[in-house]
């Protein structure tokens, strides 16, 4: 990765992200988006992030892409606690505890 490449990504992403954030705030008076557009935008985060995470969970780079019981159970615990409690901190802590617990348990194998 060349420095020029990294800087180009940073600048293009920076400008693009800012324009997304400014988009409707920039239009005076808060004109309404059409319903169909809002309806699609509502699902962008849940459409991108799970797909981004899934391969990291199933095929972690740290184990050379092998399914790892410790990481898989930590992921499931994090997500489960997150759904039940809607509490981000509780869910991260649970994930951490399960990850280290399972890593310690499976260390001998």
């Amino acid at each position: 990765m060349s420095a020029a490449y990294i800087w180009t990504v940073i600048l293009v992403l920076g400008v693009g992200t800012y324009l997304i954030r400014f988009s409707f705030l920039g239009l005076i008076g808060g004109r309404r988006l059409p319903d169909w557009a809002l309806r699609h935008l509502r699902y962008t985060a849940v459409a991108v992030l799970p797909g981004l995470v899934a391969p990291m969970v199933l095929w972690p780079a740290a184990t050379g892409g092998e399914v790892d019981p410790a990481r898989l159970s930590a992921a499931l615990a994090t997500f489960g606690v997150g759904i039940l409690t809607r509490n981000v901190i509780a869910s991260i802590l649970t994930g951490g505890v399960v990850l280290y617990g399972m890593l310690a348990l499976t260390a001998g194998y």
Binding site: T17, F24, G30, Y43, P60, A62, G82, I89
Partner: protein
Amino acid sequence: MTDAPLKSQYWSGFRQGLPFMLVVVPFGLLFGVVASESGFTPVQIMAFSSVVFAGASQFAALQLMVEDAPFLIVVATALAVNLRMAMYSASLAVWLGEAPLWKRALIAYVNVDQSYAVSVNRYEDRPQMSLAARIAFFFGAVTPICPVWVLATGVGIWVGDAIPEWMALDFAVPICFLAIIAPMMRTLAHMVAALVSIVLALALAGLPYNTGLLIAAIVAMIVGARVEVMSARRVPA
């Protein structure tokens, strides 16, 4: 009865934003650590966090850059992660659209998940708030979140190598993401969209240039919107 003084609006926003520090700090730290392990220089990493200023998309871009994905894929995927902010912008505009342009330009820069969620909740609870009060509250909520993100990134660069391998830091990224995604599962449509995203991203993982994730995201978004329309129809008006 008019609004409480602006100063108290600011501090009440600050208090609402405060708990999010607990998420922003580890996430920012992690970005600093992971980016410096990927060979970015400290200046590049700090610029990344302060110019792009959007954690999830920064991790997405970093991951794809490390995998040598082409430029257009890196940018398109990372911007897709941020598209949700157009929705935030649209809903903030309803409440803050009358503010002067320079203030709206500043608000846009710090329009992030947490400041958006906290502020719109407040505005909806108290529709009688004045414009000045809404702005004071918004910047209050942003104060414990945004500067902390950039600072945490810096600390991450600094402590980077000191973190031992047994801590399995690699997995902190997916854990943080999962903890952020889980509360988003508000409706059937959100769950179906997430499921489609996972299944397609895994099934298409072999596609060249990491196009699989982008295709998965577009299809999942359309499916989410369709499910929403269908569930709305089933409910009697």
